[in-house]
C-alpha cells in the first residue's frame, strides 16, 4: 500500500514539474521552476509527516487535495504570477493549520459539547459583513482587516457543520427539527440579503444532507425542500439580484456585453478548448472576468480540454468518496456527521461552481475548493481536511491491508 502511495506522490511531482517547465518555457523565465520545486518539497514533506506519524489515517485524503491544489496553482501562475506567489503563502498556511489540527486535536468528539456556540459564531460571522462589510463584485460578503479581505461565509461553513453535527443527534420529533433548523435558516437568509447566493445554496445543501444522514427520515428532507422552494420563490420576487441571476442563466447571450459577459466568456473558453484543449499557456484565459477565482474551471477546460476538466471532476469525486468512506468508518455519530458535512460541503461547492460555469445551473460566485485563488477558502478547506484526516484516523476497524 505504501509503495503504491509513494509512486502516486512521485507521479504527482513529475506532472507538477512538467507543467511548471512548460510555463517556464512559454514565459522564458526560470521562476516557475523554483515554484515547482518548492511545491514538490511541500508535497513530499507533508506526505512524509502524515505517513510516518499518522499512518492510521486515510492518506488519500491528503494526496488528492495536494494534487488538485498544485493543478490550481499552476493555472493561477499561468494567469497571473503575482497572485500565484500569494496563493503559495495561503497554501503553506493551509498546510500549517492542517498539521496543527492533525497533531494537536486529540479527540474530535470533545468538540461536541459547544453546539450553540457554533451557531452563534456562524451567525455573528455572517452578520458582521452587514455592518463592517465591503461590497466587492456585487456581493456584500467581504470583511476587511488591515490589508486583507476575508470572506466570513467560508469560515461560517465550518462552524455550521459542527453545529449541525452536534445538534442533530438530539432530534427526536418534528418540533426538535424545526428548533435546530432556525439558526441555519437565519444564516441562509443573511446570505441571500448579502447577495451571496452560492454560499446560501451550499449552506442549504450541507444542512439537508446532514439532517437526512442524522435522522434517516425522509419527512425532514421533504419539509426542508418545501421551505427551500417557498424561500426561492419568495426571494425571486423579492430580490432583483436573484431575478437577474436567473435571467442570465436562461439566456446569457441576450446581455452578452454586460451582465451575461462572465458566463458567455466562460462558455466561449470551454468551447475553444475542445477535447484536448489548446495546451497550457496557449489559451486566452485573460478574456474571462474573474478567471482566477470563480471561472478558473473554464480556463482549465480551455487549456486542458474536456479531458482535463473531466479528470479534475473525477479527482473531486474520489475526494468526496474518500471523505464519505471516513464517515462510514468513524467511531461515533458526531465524527461521522462532521465527515459527512465536510465531504458534502466540498461536493456541493464543486457542483455549484462548475455547474454554474458551464451554465448547467445559474452561476453563483463560490470558489472551486483548492483551485480558486483565495486565502479564506484555502485555509478553511485545509482545516476541514485536517478534521477529516483525524476522523479517518480514529476509525473503529482497520479495513484494508
Amino acid at each position: 500500500m505504501k509503495t503504491f502511495e509513494k509512486s502516486i506522490i512521485k507521479d504527482i511531482c513529475i506532472i507538477t514539474m512538467l507543467l511548471y517547465s512548460i510555463l517556464a518555457l512559454s514565459k522564458m523565465d526560470y521562476r516557475p521552476l523554483e515554484v515547482g520545486g518548492l511545491s514538490c518539497i511541500l508535497i513530499i514533506s507533508s506526505y512524509s509527516i502524515i505517513s510516518k506519524f499518522f499512518y492510521k489515517g486515510d492518506k488519500f485524503l491528503l494526496i488528492i487535495p495536494l494534487f488538485i491544489t498544485q493543478f490550481g496553482l499552476i493555472m493561477i501562475y499561468r494567469i497571473n504570477s503575482a497572485l500565484a506567489f500569494k496563493q503559495i503563502v495561503w497554501f503553506v498556511l493551509g498546510l500549517g493549520i492542517y498539521m496543527i489540527i492533525v497533531i494537536f486535536l486529540r479527540d474530535i468528539s470533545r468538540l461536541e459539547k459547544f453546539k450553540y456556540l457554533y451557531a452563534i459564531i456562524a451567525i455573528l460571522l455572517l452578520s458582521s459583513t452587514l455592518f463592517f462589510g465591503k461590497e466587492i463584485k456585487g456581493s456584500r460578503n467581504w470583511l476587511r482587516i488591515g490589508k486583507y479581505s476575508i470572506q466570513p461565509s467560508e469560515i461560517a461553513k465550518f462552524f455550521l457543520i459542527f453545529y449541525l453535527a452536534s445538534a442533530i443527534q438530539d432530534v427526536k420529533d418534528f418540533k426538535d427539527a424545526v428548533k435546530i433548523s432556525i439558526p441555519v435558516f437565519i444564516c441562509i437568509g443573511l446570505l441571500v440579503v448579502e447577495k451571496d447566493l452560492g454560499a446560501g445554496l451550499i449552506f442549504f445543501g450541507i444542512f439537508i444532507t446532514m439532517v437526512y444522514i442524522g435522522t434517516s427520515d425522509r419527512k425532514f428532507i421533504l419539509a426542508s425542500l418545501g421551505v427551500f422552494i417557498v424561500g426561492s420563490i419568495f426571494s425571486y420576487f423579492k430580490f432583483a439580484h436573484v431575478r437577474t441571476r436567473f435571467a442570465i442563466w436562461i439566456d446569457p447571450w441576450k446581455d452578452k456585453y454586460d451582465k451575461g459577459n462572465q458566463i458567455c466568456q466562460s462558455l466561449l473558453a470551454i468551447a475553444s478548448g475542445g477535447l484536448f484543449g489548446t495546451g497550457l499557456g496557449l489559451g486566452h484565459p485573460e478574456f474571462i472576468p474573474e478567471v482566477h477565482n470563480d471561472c478558473i474551471f473554464a480556463a482549465i477546460c480551455e487549456e486542458f480540454g474536456l479531458l482535463g476538466g473531466t479528470a479534475l471532476i473525477l479527482l473531486y469525486l474520489i475526494l468526496v468518496y474518500r471523505g464519505l468512506r471516513a464517515a462510514i468508518n468513524a467511531k461515533d455519530n458526531f465524527s461521522s456527521l462532521v465527515a459527512v458535512g465536510i465531504s458534502s460541503m466540498i461536493g456541493f461547492q464543486v457542483f455549484v461552481i462548475i455547474g454554474g460555469v458551464i451554465k448547467m445551473i445559474p452561476l453563483t460566485g463560490v470558489t472551486l475548493p483548492f483551485v480558486s485563488y483565495g486565502g479564506s477558502s484555502m485555509i478553511l478547506n485545509f482545516a476541514c481536511l485536517g478534521v477529516l484526516q483525524k476522523i479517518s484516523e480514529a476509525r473503529r476497524t482497520v479495513v484494508y491491508e
Binding site: 452578452k256 462558455l267 458551464i358
Partner: protein, 480 residues
C-alpha cells in the same frame, strides 16, 4: 453507529456520483453540440487573434482585379480595404468584429482566413514548408468572383441616386456578372455607420437585386408569350383587336395612355407591350397553364446556387391567384400585376433562359478559390438548372425582343454595332403614383454574352431609366 447512517451515506455517495457525472455529461454534450455554434459569436475575442495570424485573403473579380484586399499595418493588426465599396456592398458583404459578417466575407470566411485543408498537395504544401523556413507572412486564400469589375461599377454609377437593383448573368454559364442594389453602403466604415444604416428609412442593407419582391409588370409578358406559344396551337399571325380598354365584368384593363392599337398580331403586341392582347391571352390560357409556364422559369421554386456556400439568397419569383376563375385577376396576372412578383435576379434568369435557347443555367457568383500561391483549390463548373422552354419558342421570343429594341418600346437601349434584345415593363406601385421602371435585355442577340434585368423604383416607364441602366451595363461588359 447505527445501520441507518451507513445506508444514508452510501446513498450520498451515489447521489454525488450522479451529480458529478451529470456535469461531465453536460460538458461533453456542450462540447459536441453547442460549442461550434457559439465560438463564432462576436464577443469571442479569440477569433480576432486567430484571424490576425493570417492575412485575410482578397476578393477578386472575374479577371483577377482586386475588389477587397487586406494589408498588415504598423500596429500589427490588419486593414481591410474595400475599393469602391458601395458598388460591391451586397456582393462582398462586410466584415466587422462588432457586427459580424455577411455575404462572401461571411460564407467564405474560413477560406479567406486560410482555415481550410483543401490543399493542392504538390504545389501548396511544398511552398508552405518553404514559407515556414523563410518566415514569410501567412496568407489566407483568395476568392475570385464571377463579377466583372467594370460592369458592376458602371451599373452602380448608372443607378445614380435612384432606388432599385441590377442583375446581369452570363446566359451560357450562369455566372453573375453584376449584382447592384441601391441605395448601398460602404462596408469600409461599417463599424461607425452601422446604427444609422440600420435605421435608415431607405433600407440600404436590403439586396434589392436578389431579395426584392416587386410586381414585374410587362417584363412578365416574356412568360405569358412563352406560355401562349407553347400551349396554344395557333398561328402566330392571329390578330387581336385592341381598342385600348379590355372590359372584364366590372374591371377595365387599360393600355398605356389609353392608346388603342387596333388590329395587332402577337409580334407587334409584344413590341408595343399591348395590355389588351396579353390580358386576353391570359384569360384564354387560364391560370393553370400560365402558372405552369412561370414555374418552368423557376417562379414559386427555390433557386439553388452553383457553389459551395450560398453567399446570396435569391428570393424566387412568385405567382398565385385569389380566384382561379376570376377573369380580371387572370388578365392582370398575365401582364405581371396582381399576385405576380419578381426581382432583377429572377427576371435576369428568365431572360438568360430565352437567350440560352430555353435552358436556364444555375447561377453562381464565386468562380474559383485560389490558395496564396495562386493554385486553384476549387473551381465552379457551369450546370444546367432547368429547361424552361423549347428552342423553337426561345427563337421566336428572341426575335420579338430584338424588334422591341429596334423599333418598339425599348429603343432607348439601342447600342451602336450590337443587336440588343429587350423588353420594357412599367409596374404599377400601389403606394406611389409613379410606376416602377423595368427593363430586361440580352446582347448580342446572335451570340448572347450577357442577360440583364433592371428595376428602378418609381422611375416611370421601363423604356426610360431602366433601359438606360441596362444599356450602360451591357456596354460596359461588351466594351462598347
Amino acid at each position: 453507529m447505527n445501520k441507518d447512517i451507513e445506508k444514508g451515506i452510501k446513498r450520498l455517495v451515489i447521489f454525488f456520483s450522479i451529480c458529478f457525472f451529470s456535469i461531465i455529461g453536460y460538458l461533453t454534450y456542450f462540447n459536441i453540440f453547442t460549442a461550434d455554434k457559439i465560438v463564432t459569436d462576436p464577443t469571442n475575442r479569440r477569433l480576432a487573434i486567430y484571424d490576425n495570424e493570417y492575412i485575410r485573403g482578397s476578393i477578386l473579380d472575374r479577371n483577377g482585379k482586386p475588389i477587397v484586399t487586406s494589408k498588415r499595418n504598423e500596429k500589427g493588426t490588419q486593414d481591410r480595404t474595400y475599393t469602391n465599396g458601395e458598388a460591391y456592398a451586397h456582393v462582398t458583404g462586410y466584415s466587422s468584429y462588432k457586427y459580424g459578417k455577411t455575404g462572401v466575407e461571411l460564407k467564405y470566411n474560413d477560406i479567406l482566413q486560410g482555415r481550410n485543408f483543401m490543399y493542392n498537395v504538390f504545389g501548396g504544401m511544398t511552398k508552405n514548408i518553404g514559407d515556414i523556413i523563410t518566415k514569410k507572412e501567412k496568407r489566407g486564400n483568395d476568392v475570385c468572383l464571377t463579377i466583372d469589375k467594370a460592369t458592376q461599377e458602371r451599373a452602380y454609377k448608372a443607378m445614380g441616386t435612384d432606388k432599385g437593383g441590377v442583375a446581369a448573368i452570363n446566359p451560357k454559364t450562369g455566372e453573375i456578372i453584376a449584382m447592384v442594389s441601391t441605395p448601398s453602403f460602404n462596408p469600409q466604415n461599417i463599424n461607425e455607420n452601422f446604427d444609422s444604416l440600420k435605421n435608415d428609412e431607405r433600407k440600404p442593407f436590403i439586396n434589392r437585386a436578389a431579395q426584392g419582391y416587386y410586381p414585374p409588370g410587362s417584363v412578365f409578358k416574356l412568360v405569358t408569350t412563352a406560355s401562349f406559344i407553347e400551349n396554344e396551337n395557333q398561328s402566330l399571325d392571329r390578330t387581336f383587336n385592341c381598342n385600348g380598354k379590355l372590359k372584364i365584368g366590372n374591371y377595365t384593363l387599360i393600355d398605356q395612355n389609353n392608346k388603342s392599337h387596333g388590329k395587332i398580331n402577337l409580334k407587334n403586341a409584344f413590341k408595343y407591350s399591348c395590355n389588351y392582347t396579353f390580358g386576353s391571352i391570359g384569360m384564354e390560357l387560364g391560370y393553370d397553364r400560365l402558372k405552369d409556364s412561370a414555374e418552368k422559369f423557376m417562379f414559386n421554386k427555390d433557386i439553388p446556387l452553383n457553389q459551395d456556400y450560398d453567399t446570396i439568397n435569391i428570393k424566387s419569383g412568385g405567382i398565385s391567384i385569389g380566384d382561379k376563375n376570376d377573369k380580371a385577376e387572370l388578365a392582370q396576372n398575365a401582364i405581371g400585376q396582381n399576385k405576380v412578383a419578381a426581382n432583377p435576379m429572377t427576371m435576369a434568369l428568365v431572360t438568360s433562359a430565352i437567350a440560352n435557347n430555353g435552358v436556364m443555367m444555375k447561377p453562381y457568383i464565386v468562380k474559383e478559390v485560389k490558395n496564396p500561391y495562386g493554385f486553384k483549390i476549387s473551381e465552379t463548373v457551369p450546370q444546367e438548372l432547368t429547361e424552361s422552354i423549347s428552342r423553337g419558342t426561345s427563337d421566336i421570343i428572341k426575335d420579338y425582343m430584338v424588334e422591341t429594341v429596334k423599333s418598339g418600346t425599348g429603343t432607348n437601349a439601342r447600342i451602336q454595332g450590337t443587336t440588343v434584345a429587350g423588353k420594357t415593363g412599367s409596374a404599377e406601385d400601389s403606394s406611389n403614383n409613379q410606376s416602377h421602371s423595368w427593363f430586361v435585355a440580352f446582347a448580342p442577340a446572335e451570340d448572347p454574352q450577357i442577360a440583364v434585368a433592371v428595376i428602378v423604383e418609381n422611375a416611370g416607364y421601363g423604356g426610360g431609366r431602366a433601359a438606360e441602366v441596362a444599356r450602360e451595363t451591357i456596354k460596359a461588359y461588351l466594351n462598347k
